[in-house]
């Protein structure tokens, strides 16, 4: 392996071989033309050589293909953008004492699954005492007051409740992504808070398995959590925002 390893390629069985597996369906009847089309697509994607190792008809109009091949692109690890956790991961004990110290009262968290989305398991994993992956949820934290509004909450309801509860943070979950529902709903939510409260809006957090943490800006929220988030990460982030707020 290179000393520096800034550039890497996929690994099949030899360093640098670039091998990947790919499958897709083309709206082309099964036959050599469909395989040729698949080959062309793979080449355009930078696979060279690309082998169509399997194809079969799906009905009269479609062809399913499996392609193996070597991708010529290099991954530049220095250019990889990830949302780094710029705050420390705290234990529940630390979260509680930091909050007690910097806030002097309970931090109020309102959570909901907005729009017509009824997938509460994700947000419950973050909020309910039971928690997730062996970590207790936010309800377990003495210095947090958690209001879990459940599913299919409309944005106006959410804003209203956040206001009456004097929420410090609002956590929304979005699981259904068809037709970009998760993006549109979250944007509607952040716009409503901006509209209703301007700068005094609570910290806004969005979460769900198909969110990319890099999307916070686009969504108009302060933070986005994706697949496999644990309650501790969220609690630690909340402490971080409080301390930043206090410092600012």
């Amino acid at each position: 392996m290179s000393q520096d390893k800034r550039y890497v390629r996929p690994y099949g069985d030899t360093t640098g071989d670039g091998m990947v597996q790919m499958s897709f369906t083309l709206p082309v009847p099964h036959g050599p033309r469909a395989e040729g089309a698949a080959q062309q697509l793979a080449n355009k994607m930078g696979m060279d050589p690309a082998m169509v190792v399997h194809s079969h008809a799906i009905g009269a109009d479609f062809t399913f293909v499996v392609v193996y091949g070597s991708v010529q692109h290099l991954v530049d690890l220095e250019q990889v953008r990830v949302v780094e956790r710029e705050y420390p991961l705290l234990s529940p004990y630390e979260v509680n004492s930091e909050l007690k110290e910097s806030l002097g009262r309970k931090l109020v968290v309102v959570g909901a699954c907005i729009g017509t989305d009824a997938h509460t398991v994700g947000i419950d994993a973050i909020l309910n005492i039971k928690g997730f992956a062996g970590e207790k949820g936010l309800e377990y934290y003495r210095e947090l007051k958690v209001i879990n509004m459940g599913a299919q909450v409309s944005v106006p309801e959410l804003v209203k409740r956040a206001r009456t509860e004097k929420a410090d943070a609002v956590l929304v979950s979005q699981v259904v992504t068809q037709r970009d529902a998760h993006i549109l709903n979250t944007q509607e939510m952040s716009a409503a808070f901006r509209e209703a409260m301007g700068d005094r809006r609570p910290t806004l957090v969005a979460g769900g398995p198909r969110f990319d943490p890099l999307m916070a800006g686009d969504l108009g929220v302060d933070r986005v959590f994706g697949r496999g988030t644990t309650p501790g990460e969220v609690a630690s982030f909340l402490v971080h925002t409080v301390k930043k707020g206090v410092a600012a």
Binding site: G115, T116, D117, A118, T120, V121, A151, V176, R179, A181
Partner: protein
Amino acid sequence: MALLDLDGEVVGRARALAARAAEPVITLARAHTTVAVERATLRLAGITGADTTHRAGDVPWVNRVVDTIREHCGLEHGAVLPAFHALREHDLGSLTELAEATAAGQVRFTVPTGKQAERAGRAARTAVAKGLRTVDRNRGQRDKLVARLGDPARRPWIYLIVATGDIDEDVVQACNAARAGADVIAVIRSTGQSLLDYVPEGATHHGFAGTYATQENFRIMRAALDEVSKEVGRYVRLTNYASGLCMPEIAVLAGLERLDMMLNDSMYGILFRDINPIRTFVDQRFSRQVHARAGIIINTGEDNYLTTADAVEAAHTVTVSQLLNERFAHEAGLPDELLGLGHAFEINPDLADSFRMELAHALLARELFPDAPLKWMPPTKHMTGDVFKGYLLDGFFNLVGALTGQGILLVGMMTEAVVTPFLSDRDLALANVRYVLNAAGNLHEDFRPAPDGFIVKRAHQVLGEAVDLLERICRDGLLTAIAEGTFGLMKRPPDAGKGADGVVEKADGYVNPASELLEAGQ
């Protein structure tokens, strides 16, 4: 052949307890009506169409009429008396004309009494009976088509979902699925529909993660499947959802458009859509009476509990719910052959002996409900983006289906954790089912759970826990149990939830010819 050696006495006791637990809820259901039941009744009596001029978008005429009746004279006596009385008073030709007049503010509804009530009741009965005749004709037509085209060659029937949001794309996918081997096509509904207190109208093209259930969409899909049924030489069944706030109306529409199966659970709406419990139980009873009449197989939703609760810990809650669903269904007139009781392969696959535990649970359901076409649901909760692992898991799910004689097999998708299914997912999933049923479909002949072995013990344990839970429910009441989070860990108090204001206690003179005819089986 019985493999689990279940104690007949324990089984009998479980059923008796379920009946006792259901009784107060049935009494409650009999004592109430809902806006949805009344709308469903008027739909049976022939009302169709929507008010397209309304500023809130298309509002079905039936909603306009029932809302106005309620405003004018309440629904305690049912909708038909005021409606048919008004029809006559204003000398209108049809319920649709009545609706137009209502919208124009020209009608003042009152509850007729005496002779007038009798006359209105008779007219209503005639109209509803006509609607029921359509339902009966559809049932007969289904029987004829099945006789002509044939049923699937083997059990389990292969059940596939389409969910593009656009009825036209759904038709393409459904027909391809049928050609590839699907015996049953379910059109998943758009995420929002269950909380709409009306049934949308017309052909629709913009659902989210599903397509709206409308009478026209039903018609389009059933017609397409009739075509493809001829092509593939077996009757391809169509499924939709009689659930949510419009459960009874959708049941009626299903009967009118010859749907063949409907998702219809006694508690799903309460638990997973936060719909008011009373509303749900009232709506459920009426919708099941309609299904019974239409010869529609209901599919219950016990699988859902295992997505929010743990499939091992909560196994007995599935059994309890199946027994309750059975009881409610029998009471509403559904025979065993129409009971697609649900259960699912949702145990954490990392657990030791998880496959054998799945076998135990599936076999328990099979032996408790020997004549019901059980619906076996695939892994969803423990599916991940590792599509290879998922494809394997679905294979073992299929194997349980074959080994335990399930009636309806909902085909699992390798992209379960990723997207609503791609065309290729469905195709690969069917190939998976085909391999397993063809290569190992007869393995049940060689499957003999060791007496007193792991599988038998586990099944007995679950049954025992179910009996214990049923005893607790009999003591505390089903509504309390639901409020305490017994099912799927969801806590739903009886006075909360959506649609509670649509529940109305029946007055003494309540008239509903639909209920009467259905109850009497006429």
